[in-house]
Subunit: 223 residues, 2 copies
């Protein structure tokens, strides 16, 4: 509990409207035998036991048949409900989570984890997009974050709604809503920043002390 | 001066390699008589005394002839050296600086300020892109930030280089460089965060104390 505004930012363990919480990911080690680096080589066949559907999707995304998915290939393949491509910062965030061997590309085993993660987030997005508009508005955003255990103040929610909206607000009205890619990024940013804050809040009194280096490192490490 | 790593984050008043510093902007009030809201109306002529070249550019960007530039029109018109469009977060940052009447669009007088700001940043970018690669690498980035007075640690510079690179690094090598849009955003983010930190550092000893609400507000207010 934080002493200034009790409960803000503090994960709640009950009253979860959405029982799933924010999607987690399980990172799998890439099967090195099935990854072909560099262009020119035809892609190897699927690894033994691979899900045929996932292999088919992986091969479709791997446009140059290199056996691994580059950030450009990933960005071309990931579309929001309104047919716009995922923004670069979200694609880089996904790469940083799932490119576990830091090769700069996503191999098939890494893709399996990435695919599940995106599918889980799609379920979350659909669950909270109550009006089926294809984007998340301010009320839907606060319900989603509250269900994940982030009980943020109205002014913070407004900040997030504007920062991650796909267009700026016209006049003083609400912004036009948050597309899927930016919704995922907003949630991961809130999670990352809150966890960083809690790590420094060693007395658990809701106050932290940073020097400049620590402050900048925490902020610039968030997606 | 900060006590842990003297000079980091502290603006320097001498040894500026680039005498200009980061571009500033002068916001001008829009000439309301020359802004036409809503579609359908043909654009009015240029306001008296308007620079003909700037008016011509403004009219070209204003693709639907509404008399004002929307975020979509602005994003379509702004290109990096490699012909990619500016990313949305940079376009939103520019809109938030120059859309002074919060109309959600950029009128001609607002466009004059925006144009100068971008031209100034282009000069900065060209000045620091020593190898004329069209993108800013890690060494060029640290020279630029140092010349602006931000004396950041090597690990912070590496964080910024990776965060704002246009693609993730391959392996443990350097990332592929920062395009113009993301270079401007990176510099404005460093400036905004440093100024926020300094505002809270009332004792000027390099340490600040935040509660959760203050911390999140500062971070989420940066572009």
């Amino acid at each position: 509990m934080y002493n200034v505004q009790p409960g803000y930012g503090a994960p709640q363990t009950h009253h979860r409207a959405y029982s799933g919480g924010p999607p987690n990911y399980s990172q799998q080690q890439p099967a090195h035998g099935h990854r072909v680096h560099g262009g020119g080589y035809p892609a190897a066949g699927p690894p033994p036991g691979a899900d045929p559907q996932l292999w088919s999707w992986f091969s479709a995304v791997d446009a140059d048949r290199s056996g691994a998915i580059s950030v450009t290939e990933l960005q071309s393949a990931l579309l929001n409900g309104n047919w716009t491509n995922f923004d670069l910062d979200t694609v880089k965030m996904l790469m940083s989570i799932f490119d576990t061997d830091r090769s700069g590309t996503i191999g098939f085993q890494e893709f399996v984890g990435l695919w599940k993660y995106i599918a889980d987030w799609q379920n979350v997005f659909r669950h909270f997009d109550r009006d089926r508009s294809g984007s998340i508005d301010g009320r839907e955003l606060s319900e989603a974050l509250r269900s994940f255990g982030y009980n943020l103040s109205p002014s913070l929610l407004t900040l997030i709604e504007h920062k991650y909206a796909s267009e700026p607000a016209v006049g003083y009205g609400p912004p036009p809503g948050i597309t899927f890619d930016r919704f995922v990024r907003a949630c991961v940013v809130v999670k990352t920043l809150t966890e960083s804050f809690q790590r420094y809040d060693t007395r658990r009194d809701g106050w932290v002390t940073f020097n400049y280096e620590q402050f900048m490192t925490i902020v610039l490490s968030a997606p």
